[in-house]
Symmetry: C2
Subunit: 331 residues, 2 copies
DNA sequence: ATAATTTGGTAAAGCGTTTGCTCAAAGAGG
DNA sequence: CCTCTTTGAGCAAACGCTTTACCAAATTAT
């Protein structure tokens, strides 16, 4: 590695002179300046980032721990985060595959790697761990609220979203609406399940919840089962779009018509919704916006500009073909 | 920020003693050791990453510049890269939105940010820039080969893949096969277009190529146009799955049946293919594997374990419903 | 008892930069 | 011709940590 020292020797000047030339500070004679610049260029000199960091604040890094980057919701979120930190920081991405142990290890790794802040995306880590890690670094958590004044949150009213989704299915004539949910460890799952339950209760119906998971495979598998058992189901509210898409596939394979036989609503409103067929009704989370908010909030905390805040977003229902038993503008 | 020095003062020992305790090296009396550990814990001490980096090799970072993380192909690739660098390095992710200027800026930023290597995913940067940046950092490029011994590549025989795809459409009875391709700046586009042309030529047919872009919107828009103009088309080979999915939507909206009226083949074989309907025939790129190879190759170069290499992957045709005019096992 | 070794700890050199202070030389003003 | 300012450039400290050389005391061997 070539250093400022090497250049100084070559140019027969002191390192401070070299530094001054390279940073355009201080007064250095024209000849020396040009000589130094020439040598630096020839040697492909790049200032040592870490040495620099020890002195003045340079560009820093923040970490984003995501359950699964291949879920379009999270990739949109990621893009939002990136936009939010633009120019201020670099984004270190980590895929936890939804394993809480892995998530803790990753956070620990980020902590010891000079990262200035961590964003937990929809994570399963225990509250105690979040509290612990927040002692070392500013933290932003998606979908979870903390007592501590030190932990910022980006929230979406999941149970209200789920309520809306379920209500929509009921309003469209479904009676036997079931829910494909995630596991109880994930707060989001619980909240969405609650919203579903509430809507069912209000309609005087019995909720049926299947805790199946988070991806297409999970949705496919369970829907297949339901088709094979010929269960009496005319609507499914899925905890996310991937699950919904998997379920749709299984239903169609089973000869069931969507939405006539079974109506479906997903959650997240990823860009897939428009492109599956029938197009998928979903509860919209403004992923990119949410990512952006998380990022700017984190940067603000890191740079000491403000205290911890909380962003709350509202879910909105985006109606598409998969849920309209009474065919209207779509067909 | 709390440092080793603070701890030393509190414990009334020298900083070297503290360092020894923290690193488990050297001999330190039991009482002092415990005292020091206790203080360190109380103060939430974390060793300064940058200071550490200046002395011994710690975990380092590598950068991945991707056109668009929301494209499932790239998110799978990203996951592969992450797996490949696991434990060795942290991954800095950057979205260029396919803008070559942005890509250069990003690489430049990585260069000055202590990053030890860069992976260019399907990038549009000019060759001269890649050569330039490779003077400073090890570089791995997807889908592009370089003279320089310093630049590693992960390749896929795109034109062969495209050839296969087109051939498959022709073998299934299509005569008027068109191609939805990307722009000429992207080598991949050109290669895929070439494969398409070759297949058409061999069949004695005239190729028709539309340079439309890389996402669902582009595919949708162009297909809409074609439907409206009632062009004579019975097969479309799309440069990637997203374009294909967009096109499918437009065709279906136009009342055309897939594959009976128009057969479709995509490229990438993203996990979407299984979940759209009809399911999408596609040319498989083993994204995760490719990412993993790129990453291990980069790490190898960084750690001086080997010279630059080249990985070549083979595209395979994955047949699904969207391309089978003669209905067989699917229906 | 003396020499040799182990144990516990300190001081200082570096890693690569930046920057405040110093100082000499040169040019300007009286 | 002498002081005053400007210009150019070096020295050295600091950033936080690791590591080596080194020293003293305590323990062991001779």
């Amino acid at each position: 590695m070539i250093t400022i020292n090497d250049i100084a020797k070559m140019a027969n000047v002191s390192i401070s002179t070299v530094s001054r030339v390279l940073n355009g500070k201080g007064r250095v004679g024209k000849e020396k300046r040009e000589e130094i610049l020439k040598i630096a260029k020839e040697l492909n000199y790049v200032p040592n980032y870490h040495a620099r960091c020890m002195i003045n604040e340079s560009v820093f890094t923040v970490g984003f721990i995501t359950p699964d980057i291949t879920n379009p919701f999270f990739s949109e979120l990621t893009r939002g985060i990136e936009i939010g930190i633009l120019g201020k920081a670099l984004l270190i991405l980590m895929n936890s595959f939804r394993d809480p142990k892995t998530e803790e290890e990753m956070a620990e790794r980020l902590k010891t790697s000079g990262t200035k802040g961590i964003i937990f995306g929809n994570s399963r880590v225990e509250d105690s761990f979040v509290s612990y890690i927040s002692k070392f670094l500013p933290v932003v958590v998606f979908d979870k609220e903390y007592e501590s004044e030190k932990i910022a949150s980006v929230l979406l009213d999941n149970s209200y979203g789920a309520f809306k989704a379920t209500k929509h299915l009921l309003d469209n004539g479904c009676r036997n609406v079931i829910h494909f949910g995630g596991t109880d460890e994930l707060l989001v799952s619980v909240q969405r399940a609650n919203g579903y339950k509430e809507a069912m209760k209000q309609a005087g119906l019995t909720p049926r919840i299947f805790k199946i998971g988070y991806d297409e495979k999970a949705g496919y598998k369970k829907a297949k089962e339901i088709v094979e058992k010929r269960e009496k189901v005319d609507g499914i509210f899925c905890m996310n779009d991937l699950v919904a898409i998997g379920a749709m596939k299984a239903l169609k394979e089973g000869g069931l018509k969507i939405p006539q036989d079974v109506a479906i609503v997903g959650f997240d409103d990823t860009n897939l919704c428009d492109y599956v067929s029938p197009s998928l009704t979903s509860i919209r989370q403004p992923a990119e916006e949410m990512g952006k908010s998380a990022a700017t909030m984190l940067i603000d905390v890191i740079e000491g500009r403000c205290n911890v805040r909380k962003y709350v977003f509202s879910p909105t229902l985006v109606v598409r073909e998969s849920s309209l038993k009474t065919r209207g503008q779509f067909s």
